[in-house]
Symmetry: C2
Subunit: 206 residues, 2 copies
Amino acid sequence: METAKIRRGRKFDQVLLGARSVFLRDGFEGASVDDIAREARVSKATLYSYFPDKRLLFMEVARSECRRQAEAALHLIDPGAPAAVVLRAAAEHIVAFMISDFGQRIFRICVAEADRFPALGAEFYQSGPMLAREKLGAYLRLAAARGELAITDFDLAADQFAELCRANIHAKLIFGITPTPTGAEIDRTITGAVETFLARYGTSRA
Amino acid sequence: METAKIRRGRKFDQVLLGARSVFLRDGFEGASVDDIAREARVSKATLYSYFPDKRLLFMEVARSECRRQAEAALHLIDPGAPAAVVLRAAAEHIVAFMISDFGQRIFRICVAEADRFPALGAEFYQSGPMLAREKLGAYLRLAAARGELAITDFDLAADQFAELCRANIHAKLIFGITPTPTGAEIDRTITGAVETFLARYGTSRA
DNA sequence: CGCAATGTAAACGCCCCGGTTCAGAAAGCG
DNA sequence: CGCTTTCTGAACCGGGGCGTTTACATTGCG
């Protein structure tokens, strides 16, 4: 089921690259195929010789972006480190992605098109929030076994932490209230998330 | 600055109603003016005699929806009640809006169009998340003065609570992973949010 | 070199959409 | 009733977008 119905050719990657940048800039409806072809320095005929239509091209871009993102977030947790350290590192990673231009754009597009492209929403969720929850959940289980944390519902705990990392930042950003938050604001959010999480789930021997 | 440049007429409300339903169903780009006119049982000429263009019609719909929402959420907090009670009530309200069909649609549209319509993002944020934060923050200050809570950063605390209410629900919903969550899932999230919040900010005399 | 595969440029057909126009119907009001 | 305001329906315009085609250039490989 990988890339059925998609012919490859010399300039395949060019097309994907160009499509990536235009879709991210303009969204699915907003992007025009002519724009993509121009951006990719490729003729429209070539583009259509690879992809049968705009939707499939879009899905292919989204898929590859989700994979990229998933792989990047894979080597981040040191299972032996204390919770306060791991949580802070995780929070920094989450926030960094969240406030990045790319993170915002992909989020916007996925939210907007999730109903027209059910597969897109699923792919993004699995390679983003869900993956994060699993990785963090695995660590939480270790730390709990160690007696460092006291958790019964690991899935909920991991999700709560991820949500706490968005406090005071994400909504303002996504609705265009403020530009990129300052380092101080970020630190305030991250510190607050870690403290609140540990207040709930930490044991004395942190 | 209310409704400048907008003529009224006999069927003004019809148009607004029809526009509301079509925009909510199809988004801004997806909605066609012909569709709206048909839905509103009004000729396109009439529609254009009220609103100079599609954008202004859209903004007017969004504005009125935001106002509606803001007013609905106004009479909810009993300042004298204990934190556990007030928090649970607030959480229930937040979750109810979040999982409602209307809440999801308006969220999707605002996220998608916030960069093309800066005013829309602002309006939604102010009459939604920001209003909630202010109302909840006001209560938190009271409860803290009473000694029931121990908070230094009230804005952050209020935001954290709102975010906690989304754990395990919002992402799955917005990306189309699950349909409406069950009552049990909702309760799990709400209970978890209240408990975590109180673990961090509650004093012994809760 | 010669030949097949691959890519190009531009035009074309088709459809949909936002917005305008106009002759005429309907509604409201004295 | 008669007059004005409001509404109608359908045609129309200009523009843009998706996807196709065609006649031609380039690449690459045996």
